[in-house]
């Protein structure tokens, strides 16, 4: 499935993006003069072979990295011009992350992991706990709140990660291979959950995936090859 973004002001606007890395004195161009719009409330997938630049692109639009050239605008703000400190603060308020390996802190319980992003906001401690519990309820893990990650299955860990991603009500959820480490049944559960978040809560979601089943759930799929978007 490869569709055109819906009409209207996009949430994310990337223009002329080039990203280069220098390794061992050699310059490696990962993205080249790329333009991309992601509409508000959209669910979009980035696909492509390994090394095509899809994860780099995801990092740029999530404010984890800065482009070598070009502009990254999210919700009308030029995040490529922000200082590192401002960018960290922006991420904490506007982006929810879902990683392939779940990336929960092993020494914190499920509810404490979900609370983490709220520690960066002025939300009071009792309210933090309430919101974390609500987020865990949304992902169907009410009975696992006090469990440590090692006591959860892969699918449950990823659900906790999704609860952590939505707890601060972000503008954007980015997911890097969210089903990469899961069996088919768990992967389908996670994809259904992401779909629900997009459809029912209106969350804008961008995922990077190799999984055609995952891409099929997205409303738009972008294909990358050698740092360029394939038409």
């Amino acid at each position: 499935m490869n569709e055109v973004s819906p009409a209207g002001e996009p949430l994310i606007r990337l223009r002329g993006i080039t990203k280069e890395y220098t390794r061992g004195g050699e310059t490696l161009r990962v993205l080249e003069n790329l333009d991309l719009d992601v509409a508000r409330g959209s669910f979009e997938a980035l696909m492509g072979p390994s090394g095509s630049g899809k994860s780099t692109l995801l990092n740029l639009l999530a404010g984890l990295d800065a482009p070598t050239q070009g502009t990254v605008e999210v919700d009308g703000k030029r995040i490529d011009q922000m200082s590192e400190g401002k960018l960290a603060s922006w991420r904490s308020n506007h982006v929810g992350f879902v990683f392939q390996s779940y990336n929960l802190l092993p020494v914190l319980t499920a509810v404490e992991n979900v609370e983490l992003p709220l520690l960066l906001t002025p939300v009071a401690s009792s309210e933090r706990r309430k919101r974390a519990e609500t987020a865990l309820r949304v992902v169907g893990l009410t009975d696992r709140m006090g469990h440590y990650p090692r006591q959860l299955s892969g699918g449950q860990e990823q659900r906790v990660a999704i609860a952590r991603a939505i707890v601060n009500d972000p503008l954007l959820i980015v997911a890097d291979e969210p089903t990469g480490d899961l069996d088919r049944a768990s992967a389908d559960d996670i994809l259904r959950l992401l779909e629900t978040l997009n459809r029912d809560l209106g969350k804008t979601i961008v995922i990077v995936t190799h999984d055609p089943a995952a891409a099929e759930r997205a409303r738009i799929t972008h294909h990358l090859d050698k740092g360029k978007l394939r038409a």
Partner: protein
């Protein structure tokens, strides 16, 4: 905002073995430092508590200790008659005493040591109100009898109640009593009649020092001026507290400096240990740190978090070391008093100041040892979280 403290506490608990090994290293440093400070405090307390501010001690000019001083017997009366000396029923309160050291055999350890022997007058015990006979009785004046301080009793051959020692060849003296003096240096002495000491050590006609009780604390200046201006005497007067402070300051400083040098050497090792632990922990948790950075925690927040973890680790070691040092409070330590060259027994005395110093030292070790690893942690890129 800062990373929750429970993250650090639990991270330390998860790595129990390395946490414990590092904490033990720090505990050892704190134990050495606290013990040295406790011993120095014990020396000061032992020497200091022998003195009272209302007592003045008079020794030969140029002498730094009683043992090296000689005051002619006829001068004792002159000193006691000086202005400022307290009188009861017209009699000035004061004692002339002779102090010598004798070589004696240590018990429980091979070797000979010096023991302070104080030749006392009939008034010596009553002159010191804190002196209490714990066992036995006071020696009979003029008899070949002695009493021994509680700290040294049983440590030296012949110096226990009911035993005898030879004050000189074929002149045995019986130990008839054991006394205490509120923890002072006198508790490491043997007391017997001054006449026997003088005749046994060839010190006839002279004493080592004269102690007088002053009318008031303010009388000291008048008394001192009178003693030191009298050209016939060639003597000098000090408050007894100042005298003992001078006696102890060299020794306590020596212990403090030596203890601190040893502690600093150990501390360098412990800090390297703490740094290695934190470096290893940070390398192992690189991705966790990346996640925190990706979620929006600032470099400063990460730096503070890992510094806190390092300080917590060090403080845990510090508490263990301080607890071990607290146990040293029950230990007595026998060493040569460098001012009298005689055996003296000291206690390790723990004070709140030493406790605070030890814990502050452990916190400092945590901060210094954890700083570079914490900086490394703070430099972790948020992209680390994205790497598989």
């Amino acid at each position: 905002m800062f990373v929750p403290l429970s993250y650090n506490v639990r991270s330390l608990l998860v790595r129990r073995a390395t946490t414990l090994a590092t904490a033990v290293g720090i505990a050892l440093v704190v134990f050495v430092l606290a013990s040295a400070l406790m011993l120095a405090e014990g020396v000061e307390k032992t020497m200091g508590s022998a003195g009272r501010p209302e007592i003045a001690i008079v020794v030969r000019k140029g002498s730094t200790a009683e043992m090296g001083s000689s005051v002619e017997e006829h001068e004792v009366g002159l000193v006691k008659s000086m202005p400022g000396v307290k009188k009861v029923n017209g009699e000035p309160i004061g004692v002339g005493e002779v102090v010598v050291v004798a070589s004696m055999e240590k018990l429980g350890a091979n070797g000979i040591t010096n023991v302070s022997i104080r030749g006392t007058s009939d008034a010596s015990a009553s002159f010191r109100p804190n002196v209490k006979v714990l066992e036995g009785r006071l020696p009979t004046p003029g008899a070949d009898e002695a009493m021994v301080g509680m700290r040294i009793s049983g440590r030296i051959k012949g110096l226990a109640l009911g035993e005898r020692f030879d004050i000189k060849k074929n002149r045995p003296v019986a130990i008839v009593g054991v006394f205490s003096d509120d923890g002072s240096a006198h508790e490491s002495e043997v007391w017997l009649s001054a006449d026997i000491v003088k005749s046994s050590f060839g010190r006839e006609g002279a004493v080592s020092s004269v102690r007088v009780e002053l009318e008031s604390l303010a009388s000291f200046e008048v008394f001192q001026a009178a003693v030191e201006k009298d050209k016939r005497l060639g003597l000098t007067a000090m408050r007894e507290t100042d005298y003992f402070e001078k006696q102890s300051e060299g020794m306590s400083m020596f212990i403090r400096i030596l203890g601190s040098i040893v502690a600093v050497c150990f501390a360098i090792g412990a800090m390297i240990g703490a740094a290695i632990t934190m470096y290893a922990s940070i390398a192992h948790r690189k991705r966790e740190i990346g996640i925190l950075r990706a979620l929006g925690f600032s470099r400063l927040g990460i730096l503070a978090s890992f510094l806190f973890e390092s300080v917590l680790l060090a403080l845990f070691g510090g508490v263990m070391g301080a607890a071990a040092a607290f146990g040293m409070g029950a230990v007595e330590f026998s060493m040569l008093n460098m001012s009298s060259w005689s055996e003296m027994v000291f206690r390790f005395v723990l004070t709140p100041k030493i406790l605070v110093t030890s814990l502050v030292a452990s916190v400092a070790m945590g901060l210094l040892g954890g700083l570079l690893p914490a900086i490394r942690a703070a430099r972790t890129s948020p992209l680390t979280a994205m790497r598989g």
